[in-house]
Symmetry: C2
Subunit: 427 residues, 2 copies
Amino acid sequence: MKKNAIVAQSGGPSPVINSSLQGIIDACNSWPEHIGHIYAGWHGIEGILLEELIDIAHQSPKEISLLRYTPAAGAIGTCRYKLKDDQVEDYQRIIEVMRAHDVGYFFYIGGNDSMDTPDKVSKLAREEGIELIVTGVPKTIDNDLGDEGFTIIDHTPGYGSAARYWAYLIQNIDEENRGMCVSEPVAVLQAMGRKSGFIPAAARLADPEREMPLQIYVAESGHTLETLAENVNRQLQRSGRCIVVVSEGFDAGSLGEARDGFGHIEYGASQTTVAQVVTNYLNHAGLKARGQTTGQLPGVIQRSTSILASKVDIAEAYEIGKKAVEIGVKEGTGWMATILRKPGSTYVPFLEKVPLPVVANSARHIPLSWITKDGLDVTDDFVHYAKPLIGNDWPEIAIEDGLQRFSRFNVRFIEKKLPPYLPIRFR
Amino acid sequence: MKKNAIVAQSGGPSPVINSSLQGIIDACNSWPEHIGHIYAGWHGIEGILLEELIDIAHQSPKEISLLRYTPAAGAIGTCRYKLKDDQVEDYQRIIEVMRAHDVGYFFYIGGNDSMDTPDKVSKLAREEGIELIVTGVPKTIDNDLGDEGFTIIDHTPGYGSAARYWAYLIQNIDEENRGMCVSEPVAVLQAMGRKSGFIPAAARLADPEREMPLQIYVAESGHTLETLAENVNRQLQRSGRCIVVVSEGFDAGSLGEARDGFGHIEYGASQTTVAQVVTNYLNHAGLKARGQTTGQLPGVIQRSTSILASKVDIAEAYEIGKKAVEIGVKEGTGWMATILRKPGSTYVPFLEKVPLPVVANSARHIPLSWITKDGLDVTDDFVHYAKPLIGNDWPEIAIEDGLQRFSRFNVRFIEKKLPPYLPIRFR
């Protein structure tokens, strides 16, 4: 029986989130006997609650094909709308919207917090006897979804691109710091990833032979500002310069933390940053070299820079989007598409499915065994794990009239069929 | 009469400084009857004072050819060593080193502060009756060298790449902000350029049609934190989101400023930043939209990202390096190579020479007529000026084994011929 589909995104953008969207669209179109219209929730679950839906059929094939190299979440939007168990009205509204638009498939692209939503919607639909197939599509640059044994997911789409950003950034910064060290001997760079160290760890990919004076402080490192400064000064005595990559979740005392819609610390909106605290601490403590420490805060740039996306990541994000549709059509509701890798020294990924309740609100850190004993680096096991994910090539970002040509959707909502609704968190 | 040459760099790196170095090397090699060995001062004038010289003949042709796409100043280093008039010993030492190594040509790549040094060395050599031809090669991402009538130099090599960084960055950030605005409606990004607005202005190149909710606060804008917040909130009421590009030199009150070797404010080493102050001010004042402001501080990343360099800039930096050698050989001492453009609507640049005293310590701001009346934007005249400088293509950065392949010089100093010397500022 033919039903319509809704696709929606949740949580922070990644450079490849649109590639998963494209995979979902292409796959839906390849099951015409099962899936009719494809609608996108404008800004994720908020768009579903508000009945703000975009018809993918109104988008030109060219714009859909451009999704592959369009970073972040500008095409259909994303959000951080938290749906707690007690928001019964919100859940009922979601079911009503699905029913009103004859939706039988719901594809939800998101990270660990976000996977809670499709899980709950899937269960609720089943309870109410509604034919709604809900499938999750993993996405987070943080790579913190799943378990530390990597049995639920090997790596999340988005992570490979964040890792490539850091590998290439540190290569450039090494040229900068090498050239400028007699005046600015220490460059501090703050990486995303909250309390999970996968993103800062990726700086090591810039220098697997350990030739650069690079120190990596993941949140899990056990270091303090004092021991960080000691280590930096030891490096300055050895090398005359030092590149410090520090996690936004590194314990540098109070930051005047802000919180996002999920209740997590929003480091980019806090009153100060780990990079600034570390920079000030080093400049105040004094460097064992002439010159000063400078701080860099790429912030959301690291999750939205198209040219630094990984082609491996782009391709996998697309395939996992397609796989999610196949799982939905063939296996029914309640799964998340996942990517695993075969054991052995060669990188051989494969797609699988995992029950949504297993992933919902799961969280992992970088394995402690991948952090070196001195807490300043990650091991070759990490390099072996992450290196294949960054790929071997530049993505082919189209340029028109000197500018990047990104996908631009026609944001016109389909006709509403329900009375207006104010989501609980907007009240 | 055949003489050796010294090339050295000064001031902050740019993504194309090595391209000028390559142009100088190639041109020196094309005048074998005039120029013998080519030496590079390791970390600029500091390397000359310390007699730390690298022989370019010891570098492989492959590494020299890779300079074109190697960003920042890691190949031969740069510095911020200030040479004041009263540092007589330092100047004498420079002359001694030139004499000891039979140097007849001195090519100095630098910005407005740096051009003071070759000017003084040129004059001193003439006074002492030494055959030393000194030629300046302009370089600064800030584009603040020269005059506001653009008669001394149209634009400095390095600026086109910083402009491309900002154009492409803002395109990516627009995707990010469009997608994420229901949670993070305001993205603040701090641009370099000190008190001169050419770099933040380049954000406009991302959106010459003015479709994005983009506000640009150059230091010369006349805005305060209060009026900035008012404008951002007006934008939020219109568009639901806002991208704020703010100059590091914008007046946001005290930053606990640090100073560099030239005595200028070193924004990256200060105790806080304009981006942080603006972010905190907006979050404290309250936004007329749900969610929060986030701050981004690309810092030195904007002057060292190879893939975001402009191919036009790379090519011009190379040609201006070659031109400097030609000027030195044909016209004698005391000039800086410069680039001008022909009047008219098509971009036609040409190379010229300008006396060093004219450029030494010159400084320009963005013309006030290029800032819009509301102080939130730059005019189409600016777009017309800057657009041709960012080029139309990605540079061809070689990738080997998944990583960028940059030039790596063999840093082995040539045999010293003089007793050790401690530069005045190191004492």
